[in-house]
């Protein structure tokens, strides 16, 4: 049982770390999800592995499972679910604004070079571009 859980956590973490090092946001989001699954499993077993026992301490019951990690993992699941939704929306926004889903900043973040693409970009909002403007 312990071996199985350990292998599962290890495999999920490996996949997660590999995916968050990719340069496309879709793979990164998948990787974050994998990592949070791995951590949730890890949290569950941090109170030791006990099978078929109640999570309640009562008189006369000497075998029980630790209830605290279950509360922790519920909180962690809710938070990671919300965060995944948020990062998907933000990545989608960046994709729609920027035209690609690369996770790294384009080179013009450092140089201030104008944005390549249709030249009519600047006048889309009705304000003419001024000299020295930097996209």
């Amino acid at each position: 049982m312990e071996l199985l859980i350990a292998i599962a956590i290890g495999a999920l973490t490996t996949a997660g770390v590999y995916l968050i090092l990719r340069k496309r946001s879709f793979a990164v989001v998948l990787g974050m999800t994998m990592l949070s699954y791995a951590i949730n499993l890890f949290l569950v077993v941090s109170g030791r592995l006990v099978v078929d026992q109640p999570p309640i301490l009562q008189t006369g019951v000497d075998r029980y499972t630790d209830p605290l990690p279950q509360a922790l993992v519920l909180t962690a699941i809710v938070i990671s679910f919300g965060m995944t939704a948020l990062v998907v929306m933000m990545a989608l926004g960046a994709f729609l604004e920027g035209g690609d889903d690369r996770i790294d900043m384009p080179g013009r973040d450092l140089t201030g070079a104008p944005r390549p693409g249709p030249p009519a970009q600047g006048t889309a909002h009705g304000t003419p571009r001024q000299p020295g403007d930097a996209a």
Partner: protein, 531 residues
């Protein structure tokens, strides 16, 4: 129990949903309620500081549950100081956001602002490690919204990086908490301190792994090299007032490091000098890279971001001593660097609002409107950030040099602090002269000046995506924006003038930190009347 302890969390927690649910279409009402709520938090924080100033440690047991089982909120001198610092900075910067018109560049600015404050206040008050994680998430998720406020391609891209980096940090936080819980069976910080101290030396390997993981998490929040890569793009691309508020966000990491590695893992327990041995080289590297970044940046936002990074490095040199003089200096420098970094970000935003096309790139452009005042504010903020007299950065740096005189790496620390200050001075002078002086060589702006200010603008939120900065023409009240920036500079002057009382408070705070026994007793003893 004193119920005021929970007020800094409850007030924003009520105000933020109220703003979203019942005043989303009325910006004036949002502004009034939100500023009033921030001012109320500042008043409460000051009252709590008065409460904590006598040295007693106050405990608030949520739901009145007994200590290691229920969650506790703790108020000591350090927590009270951080509350005051956060609320004070937030109030001034919020007034700037009103004056510059940033708060109507997108939706829900004020609600997110209050949620951000709720997370900050909670993180400073909590005495439970998992609760700290929850408040970290609250402040992070609000900061994600604030960071991309106003939109625009580069801001969204930087925002995605910021979110992904911090999500990875949160995952690591959970791993650290799981490891520590598996070894000790508790997550209450005072109870952890007891359990860690009692642990037999042979069984501490896993615990040390947990402690180092925890330090890595806080180092991500603090942006210590080599975990700083999220900071420059995020701070440079965030809206000006949001970047200024984020000046307190890196301090949350510093606060957590101070709290955990003085209370739970002090240097005389299982960790020995491991914490200091890791943190000190990282702090020195952060300082060097920050100051070189100030010199090497071609974008004003990045100049400010790297200056903030360098100030965190200086601060962590003091913290990494984990002795009383170092902590005193670090606490002083924490107040100073929050004000200085906030002021610099606001000045950069003032410049961006006035330059042609909102350009923050460091190249000569025609002179800006109100150039004299803005240049004076930039000069003052730069002096503060570089740590020159007469502002409060100078005594702060002096205190850190003084505190590290007996340290192992004294020579390296002194050399790095002094030489890197020189680099920063050079970098900031270059930025200032490019923006303000070379402008005059170009002569006056041939294009017509920005439209004169109209006081009777329609107030509904005006969403103009794809703008890096807020135009001066959209500014609701440029005078308020200038005043708010000036207030942060005045804060640095006041910190220098009233240095004595503040230094006394810092000294008492550090004394409280190096002796964690009363903190532990306050939580675990005297539990009459709890469930």
């Amino acid at each position: 129990m004193n119920h005021w302890l929970i007020a800094p969390v409850v007030v924003p927690a009520f105000v933020a949903p109220l703003i979203v649910l019942s005043m989303r279409h009325d910006l004036v009402l949002q502004r009034v309620v939100s500023v009033a709520a921030t001012a109320a938090q500042l008043a409460i924080a000051l009252a709590l500081m008065g409460l904590a100033a006598d040295g007693e440690i106050h405990v608030y047991r949520l739901g009145n549950w007994a200590a290691p089982f229920g969650i506790v909120l703790m108020l000591d001198r350090l927590a009270a100081l951080m509350l005051v610092l956060a609320a004070g900075l937030a109030l001034i910067v919020q007034l700037y956001a009103l004056g510059s018109g940033w708060d109507r560049k997108g939706w829900h600015f004020h609600a997110l602002w209050q949620f951000q404050l709720m997370g900050l206040n909670g993180a400073f008050l909590t005495g439970d490690a998992f609760n700290l994680f929850v408040f970290f998430e609250v402040l992070l998720i609000a900061s994600y919204g604030l960071m991309i406020h106003g939109g625009g391609e580069m801001r969204l891209r930087a925002g995605v990086q910021y979110v992904v980096y911090n999500l990875a940090g949160s995952t690591l936080f959970l791993a650290a908490l799981g490891t520590i819980y598996a070894v000790t069976g508790t997550l209450n910080m005072a109870d952890l301190a007891v359990k860690v101290a009692q642990m037999p030396p042979g069984d501490t390997a896993l615990l040390r792994v947990g402690a180092v993981l925890l330090m890595l998490v806080f180092a991500v929040k603090t942006a210590l090299v080599p975990l700083h890569f999220w900071l420059p793009a995020t701070y440079a691309r965030a809206p000006g007032p949001v970047a200024a508020l984020f000046a307190i966000m890196t301090k949350v990491g510093v606060y957590a490091i101070i709290r955990f590695f003085t209370l739970v893992f002090p240097s005389d327990s299982v960790m020995e000098r491991l914490a200091a041995d890791i943190l000190l080289p990282a702090a020195l590297a952060t300082l060097v890279i920050g100051q070189i970044g100030v010199l090497g940046s071609r974008h004003l936002g990045r100049v400010a971001a790297f200056a903030a990074l360098a100030s965190v490095g200086t601060l962590m040199i003091g913290v990494a001593q984990f002795r009383q003089p170092g902590l005193v200096a670090a606490i002083w420098y924490m107040i100073h660097s929050t004000l200085a970094a906030g002021a610099l970000f606001l000045v950069v935003d003032l410049i961006g609002a006035r330059r042609a096309g909102g350009s923050l790139w460091l190249r000569p452009l025609p002179p800006i409107a109100q150039g004299g005042i803005v240049a004076a504010l930039f000069f003052a903020a730069a002096i503060g950030v570089a740590g020159l007299p007469p502002l409060s950065g100078f005594p702060g740096k002096l205190a850190i040099l003084q505190a590290t005189r007996q340290a192992d790496w004294a020579l390296a620390i002194w050399a790095v602090i002094l030489l890197s200050s020189l680099i920063a001075i050079y970098g900031l002078s270059r930025a200032g002269s490019t923006v303000f002086w070379k402008a005059h060589e170009l002569g006056p702006d041939p294009a017509p000046q920005a439209a004169p200010h109209e006081s009777q603008r329609p107030l509904p939120a005006k969403v103009e995506p794809d703008e890096d900065v807020q135009d001066l023409a959209d500014s609701a009240s440029p005078a308020l924006a200038l005043t708010a920036t000036g207030a942060l500079v005045a804060g640095m002057v006041a910190l220098a003038v009233f240095g004595g009382p503040v230094m006394d408070y810092a000294r008492e705070t550090a004394r409280q930190l190096v002796d964690p026994a009363p903190y532990v007793d306050a939580v675990l003893l005297r539990q009459e009347g709890t469930r």
